[in-house]
């Protein structure tokens, strides 16, 4: 079942230009992020900056562990840094398979800053957070609706000029989704 949800999510999210990856555990997630930072940094002149909002998944991971030559990672001063950094790294709560959508209780303003202002958003999500559809996701919040519930499907897009699809208007132009199977020692996959 989980496998089917994952494949459906991947198919649907890729249809709307998201990049979808999956790793077994946090150690491999850290390696993935390092590689991603290194690739992005090598294509950029000067230093590439990333802002990390550690969720439960990366608990205990030091920004320094992620840094690469040419890629600096911060985990503080969100208000000052978010508008300027190129990459935002954060954790999301759920993944809705049938539309390729990520879902997050984004009441904490830092969660919004790190996923809206940078041009690249690396979104970590536990594989166990996969649900079939929107109705199922909404059910999880019924009764205690968070202040700011955010749904993200692919990168920011527009077709407002002559109906030509263009990626990356006000939000990120790249959305990199990373599923992590084993969380906190146990497997949720």
């Amino acid at each position: 079942m989980r496998e089917e949800l994952f494949s459906l999510f991947k198919e649907r999210a890729e249809m709307v230009s998201a990049e979808v990856h999956r790793v077994k555990d946090v150690q491999r997630a850290v390696e993935f992020i390092r590689k991603a930072l290194s690739e992005i940094a090598s294509a950029q002149p000067g230093e590439t900056e990333a802002l990390l909002l550690r969720g439960s998944l990366l608990e205990g991971v030091n920004p320094a562990e992620l840094e690469q030559p040419g890629a600096k990672v911060y985990d503080d001063n969100f208000d000052r840094l978010a508008p300027g950094v190129m990459i935002g790294i954060s954790q999301l709560d759920l993944a809705i398979a049938d539309t390729g959508t990520l879902c997050q209780d984004a009441t904490d303003v830092k969660k919004r800053l790190v996923s809206t202002l940078p041009s690249v958003h690396i979104a970590l999500v536990p594989t166990g957070g996969l649900v079939a559809n929107l109705a199922e996701a909404l059910e999880k919040f019924q009764g205690q609706v968070p202040g700011y519930l955010a749904f993200i499907t692919g990168p920011s897009r527009t077709a407002d000029i002559e109906r030509v699809l263009t990626i990356g208007v006000h939000g990120p132009e790249r959305l990199i989704v990373l599923f992590i199977d084993e969380v906190g020692g146990g497997s949720l996959a």
Binding site: V16, L134, Y148, T153
Partner: protein, 724 residues
């Protein structure tokens, strides 16, 4: 006739190449994309659910509003119920003043467009920046949105380049991705500096006090995150009862709007949330303005309350053959297209709709795709009726409708006289090539048929009816004016096919015009009179079935008469009994298998390609599209090939083609193009109105495609079989 200024705006729109370009391409792509994104889903079930949610919410609008207010306030929001646009403006201006606000950023809100908020706030000395790319473009251009979802669809990339170059003081290249980047950079500054953010909302949930915002660009996330104050302007029709109601509306909205599974961003805000301020984080101020602006009045109207089921997806615009040609600006206000015509009449002024309601050709495509299940064409007819009742008819209309149409003998005698008068003008065959000059501007794009020398009604006495097979019974034939006076031979073919199937055909002489021209022109009392005359005439014969070979007439008998007479204790039941008996020709023939009785073989090698044109009322009101095709496939020697957009209107629409020849002509042209591309030698249809339009167009272009009613094709087949 529509006024000259309005006609001029249509002329300008038709001359705008952009409307034929980006808009045309979008329309072509929309229908198939929409079909794909709904694949595997039960659209009927989904829209039934949505219509139920929205109509329930509308029915209890005040209750919903007060529950919403209570819940949102519990979570720290301030909620203000504004009676009018002026109250909204005053509220925001005062708030800005109290809080020392200078700069405002907005994400897209049709409610704010409806009340012309920007210009008001700018007059108060405030800087207001639209951040949706399309909205920003039209703001820079000083224009109104021409589409609810794609506000700048009428503009070219060259025009946008020009606007942006001026804004950033730099000569930009015509390059769309580059232009988008420019917008990103320019607006990013505005987001970071603004002290106040204004949004609309796609839904407001009463149960939880939640606002739902649907966007693709991500601007609503920034507008609701960066400035320390958020004002949301929400039309009362956006209320839904429950949190669980969000899911079905969100299933339909992006699919119907832009053929997307879901938009890039959906944001649900419940109460105040933390925001950044100098030196830290604090609770954001959230003001929610619920806008009435005649929505409660609309709810109180038994007919128009249905329009509150609209979820503002604009799919009614995306399938409208008229919107495709003229775009949004001819609609005069911020809401365009079918639903826009209705919304403008209520939220703006009824008189604004006087002209624009006339643009609707009544093809019914919008009704078919509406996720709120709104009968838009019917609401427009109702609008017409109310406007006509208020303004009265012109002298000519009075003469035609009240004095001529309801006096059957006078009407029919005039048609007979017209047949004599037009004699010198009929050219080759039965087409009038050169009409008298004062008529010619109405028929430049098509020839019109001659009025028959002897109408069907005067042929009936001498017509020999041979029922060859076992007699099945009696059928009443309702011919309608076009068959009676322009295509009596077609009427004879209908009778022949019925005879061959075992039916004796009776033609009650008291039958007259079905009243459709009166109905679609908003002249209700004339439609009622004609309904009675026809109910009387058609019920005078005891027959198993009433056959019509004109779908518009069939719709009149099946639906319109019943509706017009339902409150009349004497006529109501008679109209209902008649409605039960009426069948459209192809439907009845297939249902009874009438052509099978004499059809021995279908072995002939197909030599002729036939393509089928679906008439609007037949397909969308009567639900008949398979039946005529099935019949055509049984005809030896015919091969059925489909044209693209076979169910797109041909541009006839009765008197529409006379009122708006400049629109009727390009709609017809498109139909002719599709016929041409199908490479068929024959185009078949079941409506004499479409027959007149399409054969007139083909004749004018000198094309040799035969145009036939299904009855004519079947009659020819039977005649051949009888001689074999």
């Amino acid at each position: 006739m529509p006024d000259a200024k309005f006609k001029e705006s249509i002329k300008q729109a038709l001359a705008n190449p952009q409307l034929g370009g980006a808009l045309g391409r979008f329309f072509e792509a929309y229908a198939p994309s929409r079909a794909r994104v709904y694949e595997g889903m039960d659209f009927e079930a989904l829209r039934t659910t949505i219509a139920a949610i929205k109509s329930q919410a509308a029915e209890h609008m005040e209750e919903m509003a007060s529950r919403f207010t209570k819940e949102a306030e519990k979570r720290g929001a301030k909620v203000f119920l504004a009676k009018s646009g002026d109250e909204v403006k005053a509220y925001i201006a005062k708030l800005a003043q109290d809080k020392g606000v200078k700069r405002i950023v907005k994400s897209k809100s049709m409610a704010s467009e409806e009340i012309h908020l920007n210009s008001y706030l700018e007059k108060q000395g405030l800087s207001v920046k639209e951040t949706d790319l399309g909205e920003w473009i039209i703001q820079l251009a000083g224009q109104r949105p021409s589409h609810m979802v794609m506000p700048a669809i009428h503009m070219s990339k060259e025009e946008v380049t020009e606007l942006f170059s001026k804004e950033v003081n730099e000569r930009l290249e015509v390059d769309i991705p580059r232009l988008v980047k420019v917008a990103r950079n320019e607006l990013r500054k505005a987001f970071l500096e603004a002290e106040l953010g204004i949004t609309g909302a796609n839904m407001a949930v009463a149960e939880t006090g939640t606002l739902v915002l649907v966007t693709n660009e991500g601007n609503a996330r920034l507008v609701t995150t960066l400035p320390p104050i958020h004002v949301a302007i929400v039309g009362l029709e956006k209320l839904v009862p429950k949190f669980a109601d969000i899911a079905p509306v969100l299933q339909a909205l992006p699919r119907s709007a832009t053929a997307q599974q879901l938009t890039s961003y959906v944001t649900m805000i419940t109460g105040t949330v933390p925001t950044l301020v100098e030196g830290g984080v604090q609770a954001k101020e959230l003001h929610i303005i619920l806008l009435d602006n005649r929505r409660t009045e609309m709810r109180a109207d038994p007919v128009f309350k249905q329009a509150l089921q609209c979820i503002r997806c604009a799919s009614c615009l995306n399938v409208c053959p008229v919107y495709r040609l003229v775009g949004g600006h001819v609609f005069g206000h911020v809401y365009a297209g079918g639903i826009g015509t209705i919304l403008t009449a209520w939220f703006n002024e009824m008189h604004n709709s006087k002209d624009i309601q006339g643009l609707c050709i009544q093809c019914g495509r919008c009704k078919e795709v509406c996720p709120g299940k709104i009968d838009i064409p019917e609401l427009i007819v109702e609008l017409r009726r109310q406007i006509t009742e208020k303004a009265g008819l012109s002298l000519t209309q009075k003469l035609i409708f009240e004095n001529m149409l309801t006096n059957r003998k006078l009407f029919h005698n005039m048609l007979r006289a017209a047949s004599l008068a037009q004699k010198p003008f009929t050219g080759r065959g039965s087409m009038i090539r050169h009409l008298p000059l004062f008529f010619s501007k109405y028929s430049e794009f098509r020839s019109l048929p001659a009025i028959a020398e002897v109408p069907l009604r005067d042929r009936m006495d001498k017509l020999e009816q041979t029922v060859r097979v076992v007699p099945q019974g009696k059928a009443v034939f309702y011919s309608g004016c076009l068959i009676d006076f322009a295509y009596p031979e077609l009427g004879e073919d209908v009778i022949k096919v019925l005879n061959q199937g075992g039916y004796e055909v009776v033609f009650p002489q008291g039958q007259t015009c079905c009243g459709a021209p009166a109905k679609y022109n908003g002249v209700h009392d004339v439609a009622v009179k004609l309904a009675k005359q026809n109910v009387e005439a058609l019920s005078s014969v005891n027959a198993e079935v009433v056959i019509s070979a004109c779908p518009t007439c069939t719709v009149a008998i099946k639906h319109d008469f019943v509706k017009a007479l339902q409150d009349d204790p004497e006529w109501g039941p008679k109209a209902s009994a008649l409605a039960d008996k009426v069948r459209d020709f192809s439907h009845f023939i297939l249902e009874k298998g009438l052509t099978n009785r004499t059809n021995q073989s279908n072995q002939a090698f197909p030599t002729t390609k036939v393509t089928y044109h679906d008439s609007c009322h037949l397909k969308r009101t009567l639900g008949i599209s398979r039946e005529p095709r099935t019949l055509l496939k049984t005809v030896p020697g015919l091969e059925l090939v489909e044209m693209s957009e076979s169910d797109m209107c041909c541009g006839m629409g009765g008197s529409y083609s006379l009122k708006f020849p400049e629109l009727s002509a390009p709609i017809l042209e498109r139909k002719l193009k599709h016929i041409r591309e199908s490479e068929a030698q024959v185009v078949a249809m079941d409506c004499p109105g479409c027959l007149m339009q399409i054969s007139g167009g083909l004749d004018k272009q000198g094309r040799r495609v035969e145009v036939k009613h299904t009855a004519q094709i079947l009659a020819e087949m039977l005649a051949k079989q009888n001689t074999n």
